[in-house]
C-alpha cells in the first residue's frame, strides 16, 4: 500500500532503493570488468576496478546512513521496517561483492606477464552465472518475488559444481606440474572470489524472502563446504 499519509517514508525509501539499483549496476560492471581484465590480461583495466571500488564503498555508506535516518525519523513498522533492515544487510553483501571483484583484479596484477595456465572455460560460465543470479536477486527484491528468490539458491548449487570442477582440475595440475603451482593458485583465487559472489547473492535472496514473509531462513544449506 502506498498511502499518502506515509508519503515522506515512501519518498525517502524510493531514493534509497534507487541508490541500491545504482550500486547493483556498479557491482555488475566491476565483476564483468574484473573478469575481462583476467581474460584479456589487462592490468590497466584491473587497476580501474580496484580504484572504482571506493565509489561502491561510499555508496554503501550513503545507503546505510539514509536507512538509519529513515528508521530514526519515520519509525517504519512491519513490511516497511523489514524492507529497510533488509536493505541495510543487502548493501553489505553488495559491497563485499565489490571486494571480490577487486580480489580478482588484484590477482591479475600479481599474475604479471605469465602465460595463462589453461583456457578459462568454466570460470567464464561462473562469472555469467553470478551476474545473472545477482540481477535475478535484485529484481526479486524490487518486485518482492519470493518464488524467484528461492530459485536463486538452486542456481548457487550450479555455481558450486563449477567451482568444484575447477578446484579438482587445478589441484590435479599442481600435483602433476609443481612449477605451475603459483599460476594454478592465482586461478583458484579468482574462481573462489566468483564462487563467493554466488554465496552472497544467495544471502540477498534470503533477505527477499524475509521482506515478504518475515521469516529468516537459510535458502541453501550446502552439503559440503569447500
Amino acid at each position: 500500500m502506498n498511502s499518502g499519509l506515509r508519503a515522506p517514508f515512501d519518498r525517502e525509501f524510493a531514493i534509497i532503493q534507487d541508490d541500491l539499483l545504482k550500486m547493483h549496476q556498479l557491482i555488475d560492471e566491476a565483476v564483468a570488468r574484473s573478469y575481462a581484465s583476467l581474460a584479456g590480461r589487462d592490468p590497466e583495466l584491473a587497476r580501474q576496478v580496484i580504484d572504482d571500488d571506493e565509489i561502491i564503498n561510499q555508496l554503501r555508506f550513503k545507503i546505510e546512513e539514509a536507512s538509519l535516518a529513515l528508521i530514526a525519523t519515520q519509525q517504519p513498522t512491519a513490511t516497511d521496517l523489514r524492507k529497510v533492515i533488509a536493505i541495510m544487510h543487502i548493501v553489505v553483501e553488495l559491497e563485499r561483492m565489490g571486494d571480490h571483484a577487486t580480489g580478482i583484479a588484484t590477482t591479475v596484477l600479481l599474475m604479471g606477464d605469465e602465460p595463462s595456465l589453461k583456457p578459462l572455460v568454466d570460470l567464464s560460465k561462473m562469472v555469467e552465472l553470478g551476474r545473472e543470479m545477482l540481477d535475478d536477486s535484485i529484481q526479486a527484491l524490487i518486485n518482492q518475488d519470493t518464488e524467484r528468490a528461492k530459485k536463486i539458491a538452486a542456481r548457487d548449487d550450479e555455481m558450486d559444481k563449477y567451482y568444484r570442477a575447477i578446484f579438482d582440475e587445478l589441484v590435479d595440475i599442481m600435483a602433476r606440474q609443481p612449477d605451475a603451482a603459483p599460476r594454478a593458485t592465482y586461478l583458484l583465487w579468482c574462481a573462489h572470489n566468483v564462487e563467493r559472489i554466488g554465496d552472497r547473492v544467495t544471502n540477498i535472496a534470503e533477505r527477499v524472502v524475509f521482506v515478504s514473509t518475515g521469516d529468516m531462513q537459510e535458502l541453501n544449506i550446502k552439503e559440503q563446504q569447500i
Binding site: L5, A7, K62, A69, A72, T73
Partner: protein, 265 residues
C-alpha cells in the same frame, strides 16, 4: 557524507525568518527561559521538544507576543522577524499576529458556522470587502487543509459538528485565511488519533512550501517525522538545536541522548 547532502539540504539552510538572540523570559521573578538564541528558517518546519514545563510553549508564544497577555511577564533579548525586532516600540500587534498565526493544543473553533470560522480573520482585519472574494478565500483555505471536500455542502453548519481532527484542520484553515507568514503550532495533535495526526503532519509538509512552521510537541516521533530542525528545551534552556536527522541519530549533548532515548529521571 553529511545528512545535508543525503537530504539535498543546504547546511546553512533557507533565509532566516525568525532570529532569536539572547532571550530571557520571566513570569514575575521566575526565569522561565534563559539565554535562548536560535534561527528559524523560512519554508522549514522547526520542532521544539522537551519535558513539561521546560519552556518550549513559552518560547513559542514569544514569537507572536502572546505572552504579553499574561500579567507580570518580562522579556530580555531580541526576537527578529525578517530582521525587525518585534518587541520594539510601535509594533502593530494585530498585524504581527496576522503574520504569525497560531494553532493550539485543543481544537478551538468558534461556536459559529464553518464558513464564519474561516471568514472571521479576513472580516475582522478588513482584508476582504466583497462576499464573492470572501467565499473564495474561505474555500481556498479549506482546500489548503484538505477539508473542502467534506464540508463543501455544509459550510453553513456549526463547526462544532465536525470531528476533532476536522476541527483542528478548520482551525488551521482559519489561520491560513488571513495569509500569515509563520504558523506556530502548540501540541496541535495531542487531542487527535494517529490517523488524524498523520493527516495534520501531511498538511504541514505541504504547507511548508508556502509558510514557515514552528511546532511544539511532546511527541518526539512526530518531531522526527515532520521537522527539518529540532530543538530540545530543558529547564528553560535550549540544550541542542540541529538538523532533525542529527538530533535523532547522533545528538551531541548527553541530555538530548537521554531525553530522546527515554532515559530521563
Amino acid at each position: 557524507m553529511t545528512w545535508c547532502k543525503i537530504l539535498g539540504m543546504k547546511s546553512s539552510g533557507n533565509h532566516a525568518k525568525v532570529e532569536v538572540r539572547d532571550l530571557d523570559f520571566y513570569y514575575g521573578h521566575f526565569k522561565a527561559l534563559s539565554d535562548i538564541s536560535l534561527t528559524i528558517r523560512q519554508n522549514e518546519i522547526t520542532a521544539l521538544i522537551g519535558p513539561s514545563g521546560c519552556g518550549k510553549s513559552t518560547f513559542l508564544r514569544c514569537i507572536n507576543r502572546m505572552n504579553d497577555t499574561i500579567s507580570g511577564t518580562r522579556i530580555v533579548g531580541e526576537v527578529l522577524i525578517d530582521g525587525k525586532d518585534i518587541y520594539q516600540d510601535g509594533i502593530d500587534l494585530a498585524d504581527l499576529r496576522r503574520r504569525v498565526g497560531m494553532v493550539f493544543q485543543k481544537p478551538n473553533p468558534f461556536p459559529q458556522s464553518i464558513f464564519d470560522n474561516v471568514a472571521f480573520g479576513p472580516r475582522v482585519l478588513g482584508q476582504v470587502n466583497n462576499r464573492r472574494r470572501l467565499k473564495e478565500v474561505v474555500e481556498e483555505s479549506l482546500k489548503a487543509v484538505a477539508l473542502i471536500d467534506q464540508v463543501r455542502d455544509s459550510l453553513d453548519e456549526s463547526a462544532l459538528n465536525l470531528s476533532l481532527g476536522e476541527q483542528q484542520r478548520l482551525c488551521l484553515a482559519r489561520v491560513l485565511a488571513v495569509r500569515p507568514e509563520i504558523i506556530l503550532m502548540d501540541e496541535p495533535c495531542s487531542a487527535l488519533d494517529p490517523i488524524d495526526t498523520l493527516r495534520i503532519e501531511e498538511l504541514m509538509l505541504r504547507l511548508k512550501n508556502d509558510y514557515t512552521i514552528v511546532i511544539v510537541t511532546h511527541n518526539m516521533q512526530q518531531a522526527a517525522r515532520v521537522s527539518d530542525r529540532t530543538g530540545l528545551f530543558w529547564l528553560g534552556e535550549l540544550v541542542e538545536f540541529d538538523i532533525t536527522n542529527n538530533i535523532f541519530t547522533r545528538p551531541q549533548e548527553q541530555r538530548t541522548e537521554d531525553y530522546i532515548s527515554g532515559r530521563v529521571g
